[in-house]
Symmetry: C2
Subunit: 340 residues, 2 copies
């Protein structure tokens, strides 16, 4: 990699960029608020006048955030999904995305498949790809996504009140179990198809986040693990959170058994396996019935998994009233802010 | 790099992120339009009501876009600078930035120095760092920058008219010569201090870009090389561009001679060495005097380097009227759109 040569043209993968440009073009017209898209020094966008802008940014590194043998379609999808999940957690409506793609080699087929996955979710979510950069180097993908939320109404981490209930709308630990299945070479086993789909093509809960605007007192994306992420809510809100272990939805124990995983491991995957692109949120108990209806209208099932209590940190209790301490090392983050 | 472990916490460099958070905090209060900065799932920003939003995104890969021995301060500065130069080329006023930092190891001193460089330019340019991501992997930095431009007034590539003059306001090829000096182990030679500073700490022409809004018919950042980038303007505008070789400002030939570079090489560095974070723009000749005054008020010197002609592509003529064909391979891009 001669540094001098790179300085001739910083943006040195024209073919791939041309491909992405073509893929982006398939979305042209999707959004009328794109004044000028890909092809100039910058994109020009027309923010909604009564809204605030929400900006999020996440990077995926090959071999670290996804297995090296992941299909390029899934990587493209997921690179956008992890960002849209952050927008969902803010209650924002997604609008635009920028894609920085660092690739080890010119592989037009890979880029096309990557772009197709990215575009599939973008189309589904009314997101326009408006800019980005392609560079040569170890496979790394950074997406910045922008969205709108009514002024002053963004969902935040710092509003949880003592007495609120903690809720989610989905099953936790599925992606982590899907990863175990992939690692055990069971990618083609239909029993794991659902969990592997959750790993490869997570569907950000955008409609849910928007439905919670003005209702939820706090909201967060739990992709770093339920307990770790609720720890952020606890710190930001200055409260404690007590979770009811038996109320936390997890994959069937039988499915784990097929991989030789015991029940406790499955529960721990649900508590902290990560890669669950679900929202956790806090609600005044008086609003739960109304929210349950709204959530049902989205085809989701509201799960009431705990309460906000005075104090600090996240604790887990069993139905018998005992404390539960997960076995995994990840949980020494308990109640600590371990960063973004 | 165990994939499974990474799934416990996607954002796995808490110490460094904490550092960046602290650095970002030093800029708190710089901008009142940051409703919610670093520390939630997303940043909440208040766009100016009468403006459009300009979004740009650029990646730097270690060993490719900067020499591996570059000081971390310079890398931090430059990662923001390359983006601000794109905003400048759109005529935008920068507001916010998001930083995705992929690092091979936990090195707090490096991050602190990187962050200090980033923050130095951010402060100078009134940019607030509002979000980002830190991940483990090969050193790669992606910055997304956002800015504002009055609605409908962004400077674009596609407005150059036949008869317009092509102008710049600065000397070309200095960064490329600085790189040659670094490669020749002359980093400490005071003769090259200016050129190396242009390489390491380019100053985006933000005030110039804003001064050109409503005046320049087209504008572009020439960081990929003057001729290559003007080729983009020619294509986008459907015109040809004829440059006056003798009018193009380049570093002194004596400086090149110190590195054993001949005059022709110096001229070629000015034409396509790259890493010049300068704007090239086209002006109706009737406006040149007014622009020259505005540019002088910014402490810059307007250089009239060519004209927009019917046809296509970029050509170079000498004062004697002969055609000049640069020697470097990079110039087979001549007049071709070689992508972003």
């Amino acid at each position: 990699m001669p540094v001098g040569a790179a300085h001739i043209a910083v943006h040195d993968m024209p073919d791939e960029f041309e491909l992405i440009r073509r893929l982006a073009a398939t979305q042209r017209g999707v959004r009328e608020d794109v004044v000028l898209g890909i092809g100039d020094d910058g994109a020009v966008l027309a923010p909604t006048r009564v809204s605030e802008l929400v900006a999020v940014c996440d990077t995926l590194v090959a071999g670290r955030h996804f297995p090296l043998d992941t299909d390029a379609f899934a990587i493209g999808w997921k690179a956008l999904a992890v960002n849209l999940s952050d927008l969902a957690a803010m209650g924002a409506m997604p609008q635009w995305a920028l894609l920085a793609l660092t690739l080890p080699e010119r592989d037009a087929a890979w880029v096309e498949r990557f772009g197709t996955g990215f575009a599939a979710l973008a189309k589904m979510s009314s997101v326009a790809l408006v800019g980005g950069d392609t560079t040569r180097g170890p496979l790394t993908i950074t997406v910045t996504a922008l969205g709108a939320v009514a002024s002053g109404r963004a969902l935040r981490r710092d509003g949880a009140q003592v007495g609120d209930h903690v809720c989610i709308a989905g099953v936790l630990g599925e992606a982590a179990l899907g990863l175990r299945a992939v690692q055990a070479q069971r990618r083609d086993d239909p029993a794991f198809a659902h969990c592997i789909a959750r790993l490869d093509r997570p569907e950000p809960q955008l409609a849910l986040g928007q439905a919670l605007v003005g209702i939820a007192s706090a909201c967060i994306d739990v992709s770093d693990g339920l307990v770790a992420d609720l720890g952020h809510v606890a710190i930001a809100s200055g409260v404690g959170i007590r979770l009811d272990l038996d109320a936390i939805p997890h994959p069937p124990f039988e499915l784990g058994a097929r991989l030789g995983l015991d029940a406790r491991t499955i529960v721990d995957l649900a508590l902290g396996g990560g890669d669950d692109y679900l929202l956790a949120f806090t609600l005044d108990p008086a609003q739960i019935d109304e929210v349950r209806e709204r959530v049902a209208a989205l085809g989701l099932d509201l799960r009431d998994i705990g309460v906000v209590v005075p104090g600090a940190g996240v604790s887990l209790i069993t139905r018998e009233g005992g404390d539960y301490v997960p076995a995994r090392a990840g949980f020494n983050h308990f109640g600590n802010d371990d960063g973004e």
